[in-house]
């Protein structure tokens, strides 16, 4: 079975990648921070590098926010249109959950240029959502809502000819929040795996990320437009520095756990890419005073300031001032290295690896992972090349000639963590994962409260244990073809284990059915680590809110190819 990786990933770093037994623990995965490999950052890097052109072609929206707009994105890999359908604010039926019935805007990302008939079709079908059908060149259907606090304040301020108060804006950091990005075949949109090899949005989640960027762009255009409707020429335009500071909001929840279940190869590839870049960075023989150390110092200063300025109220996650204080410890350790050539009092041929080891027991995982993300910035070319390796197939297939003995050996080598779990208790199977008939919302509840539900969660440890038991009663030389003939219930788990053989980061070491499983840990991994969302807040251990594209370049910046170093933005002065 091939587990080949692209050549750029196969270069052996000087420092070993972290073992799965450490990295795949949910609490460690939850601490992973945005990095150059996060898909939103990779998207901005590409847009900047290739100087994508984002233009607003029309904006016909009235003083009550009703109307349409059309944006066009021109890239070396194709032209895309983003028509927006804007609606009057209506508090009834609103929620950040997908069971919502009202949105402030809906949009579509479509391979362009769109004909008038395609726009008219999209305008008619998009509001129907599950009952609607996208045109054949549609990539994503998107919808978002205002953050009332920030949005109204900005419109009021601009209408009064003033800039909004940063102290109020920076509590939210966005004007509109994504409440749904549907693509990859949903509602008849194009299958991403069928996109042409030179397609600009072929990388995983690229189309969704571009749609989110366009939501952000529309939101700032909308507040400016509404202020002009209200105050005419007296209205102020939103300061570009504030526009850059504002991102687009995002709320995510339980659906991401199902996504992780269904995308083990993507998860493995992403984590492997991140760990590879990190290992290469840790292996740099960076001398005191070298450009790498100076760069790291500057990055640390930037993130410390970012954390100190953070006005987000964190109910459950580590507050920013704690992380800022710990990053100061990291900075001091680096200063000591510059002054003495030693890390923690000792010399090292790989000082950055030594720095990480030195801090491991001294700072929180979130701080360690922040440092790791900064270290990845020291190997930018490698990191950018690794971003291009994330296209994978998630198809699984049984290898019918594999024998029982060999499969059991794989289980005991690669799934020892599953086999060691105590699954005999009620607590180990307390919860069930299901989707509601309304809006197909992913939910997780105690089994007795939804007795009629079909479980949709991957009960991986139990499946592995059951497979091991079933295999134990078979002759070791029996092939899978013959074993599955009598045990068709094992086909799915056999295919999964065989297909993922040899990959180390595909499945977090957790039991998602158990009482003590904390869903937000996986939501954080995907939202923060993979998507690149900042300032995330956790609610009820299952919902995460945060901001995407916080500080990202504006269309005018992209056209000039500037503002490449935009993350962890300082508050505008």
């Amino acid at each position: 079975m091939s587990t080949s990786r692209p050549a750029s990933v196969q270069v052996e770093p000087a420092v070993a990648l972290r073992p799965a037994e450490i990295l795949m623990k949910p609490e460690r995965l939850a601490a992973i921070q945005p990095s150059r490999l996060s898909v939103s950052r990779a998207m901005i890097a590409r847009m900047t590098r290739e100087r994508w052109d984002v233009q607003c072609l029309s904006f016909d929206i009235d003083e009550r926010a009703k109307g349409t707009a059309l944006y066009r994105i021109t890239t070396p890999g194709g032209m895309f249109d983003f028509p927006v359908f804007s609606f009057e604010f209506n508090p009834a039926g609103r929620t950040g959950r997908i069971i919502g019935r009202n949105w402030d805007m809906m949009g579509a990302l479509v391979e362009g240029p769109m004909s008038a008939a395609e726009i008219e079709h999209t305008q008619r079908e998009l509001p129907k959502l599950y009952a609607g059908r996208a045109t054949e060149r549609t990539l994503v259907w998107a919808r978002s809502n205002r953050s009332s606090r920030a949005f109204d304040h900005v419109v009021d301020s601009l209408s009064a000819g003033q800039q909004p108060e940063l102290s109020r804006l920076s509590q939210v950091c966005y004007l509109m929040r994504n409440t749904g990005l549907d693509g990859n075949g949903t509602f008849g949109t194009r299958s991403f795996r069928a996109l042409e090899s030179n397609h600009a949005l072929r990388n995983p989640l690229a189309a969704q990320m571009l749609s989110a960027y366009m939501m952000r762009e529309f939101a700032t255009d909308l507040v400016t437009n509404l202020a002009r409707h209200r105050a005419g020429s007296q209205a102020a335009s939103l300061d570009p520095a504030i526009r850059r500071f504002l991102g687009v909001g995002n709320g995510s929840a339980l659906g991401l756990i199902l996504f992780a279940n269904n995308h083990p190869r993507l998860l493995d590839r992403f984590l492997h890419a991140r760990e590879t870049a990190l290992a290469h960075a840790k292996g740099l023989a960076a001398l005191p005073g070298s450009p790498e150390i100076k760069r790291l110092q500057a990055l640390l200063d930037r993130v410390i300031r970012f954390r100190l300025e953070d006005r987000t109220v964190y109910d459950a996650l580590v507050p920013s001032d704690t992380i800022a204080a710990e990053l100061a410890i990291v900075r001091n350790a680096l200063n000591d290295y510059v002054a003495t050539g030693h890390i923690g009092g000792l010399p090292s041929p790989v000082p950055l690896a030594a720095l990480c080891d030195h801090l491991e027991s001294r700072v929180l995982p979130e701080t360690q992972e922040t440092l790791h993300s900064l270290l990845i910035e020291l190997v930018p070319e490698l990191a950018d090349s690794l971003c291009e390796t994330l296209i994978v197939s998630e198809e699984t297939t049984v290898a019918p000639g594999m024998r029982v003995g060999e499969l059991r050996q794989i289980l005991h080598d690669e799934y020892a963590w599953c086999l060691a779990m105590d699954l005999s208790t009620e607590a180990s199977r307390r919860y069930i994962w299901y989707k509601s008939a309304t809006a197909e919302e992913p939910r997780r509840g105690p089994r007795e409260e939804v007795e009629q539900a079909f479980n949709l969660g991957l009960d991986l440890p139990r499946l592995v244990q059951q497979l091991d038991i079933a295999l134990a009663s078979q002759p070791a030389d029996r092939t899978m073809a013959h074993f599955l003939l009598g045990h068709p219930e094992q086909r799915g788990i056999v295919a999964r284990v065989q297909t993922l053989r040899g990959l180390r980061y595909h499945s977090p070491h957790m039991n998602i059915m158990a009482e003590d499983f904390i869903p937000i840990q996986m939501v954080r991994l995907l939202n923060v680590g993979l998507h690149g969302i900042d300032k995330t807040r956790d609610f009820l251990n299952r919902n995460l809110r945060g901001v995407l594209y916080h500080g990202a370049p504006l269309p005018e910046d992209l056209r000039t190819g500037t503002h490449g170093d935009w993350f962890y933005p300082a508050e505008p002065v």
């Binding site: 609103r94 950040g96 299958s191 939804v450 599955l484 003939l485």
Partner: protein, 249 residues
């Protein structure tokens, strides 16, 4: 939730592989099929639809008789180089995953003193419901780089297989490759009568869980408990709480 009520019988839409997989998988959850085989049988049904064998229409029209799929009931016999499978009346879809696995395994079975496996295989299958669907074994076997010649009989098929790979037991596709048949389905989708899609969509929704006030507490940043107390996000300015505290409309 409903699909377009103005659709005519001749109105066709283009279904993606993803949404076709989704509804077929949800419908299979309503059958007796072991959960571990749902994905493989789903792929068999898609292959049949991709071969224009009318699988989706059959799934809708004969669903009640399809429900009782129990693939473990089959009997396999192999002796003197002759392999036969008595399907004992099982539906073709239920046994197609095993048929592919058996012929692939037979093709690649080691031969004493030779580096390569046998290279060819044959398998006769009897007492199958809807044997015409077995024609779609060809694209399923191609995922293993095995070509098939299939003769459909009154109650089954005679399958002859030939290994096109290097003769190892390995799955030879790399992690980023797709087999040509799946690639074509991804590119072209399935042209389907809108009414058929609507019917299957509604059937598949039976595997979703009915909404309730209790169920709505199983997701989201806010819970409204039985006493009307709000638990969770304290500064939420965007949720119409009636969505959480009243039965769905």
């Amino acid at each position: 939730m409903s699909l377009s009520s103005t659709a005519t019988a001749h109105d066709e839409i283009l279904l993606s592989v993803r949404e076709t997989r989704l509804i077929v998988e949800r419908i299979l959850l309503l059958t007796d099929l072991p959960r571990g085989s749902v994905t493989a049988v789903r792929e068999a049904i898609l292959a049949c639809e991709g071969q224009r064998l009318g699988a989706l229409a059959h799934l809708r029209d004969d669903f009640d008789s399809i429900r009782a799929m129990q693939p473990a009931r089959v009997f396999f016999f192999e002796a003197d180089g002759k392999a036969e499978l008595d399907a004992k009346g099982e539906h073709a879809w239920a046994i197609m995953p095993s048929l592919v696995e058996l012929v692939v395994e037979q093709c690649r079975r080691p031969v004493a003193g030779q580096a390569a496996g046998r290279g060819t295989a044959s398998l006769a299958v009897h007492d199958v419901r809807m044997p015409t669907m077995l024609a779609a074994l060809t694209p399923l076997a191609l995922r293993h780089q095995v070509s098939l010649g299939i003769t459909i009989t009154d109650d089954g098929a005679l399958i002859r297989a030939s290994d096109r790979s290097t003769g190892t037991n390995a799955i030879t596709m790399s992690s980023h490759d797709l087999d040509p048949f799946l690639s074509r389905m991804l590119r072209e989708g399935f042209r389907t009568p809108r009414q058929l899609w609507s019917d299957l969509y509604h059937l598949s929704n039976q595997s979703l869980t009915p909404d309730s006030v209790v169920s709505r507490r199983h997701a989201g940043p806010i819970i409204v408990d039985e006493n009307g107390r709000i638990i969770g996000r304290t500064d939420d300015d965007e949720t119409d709480l009636s969505l959480l505290s009243q039965p769905a409309a």
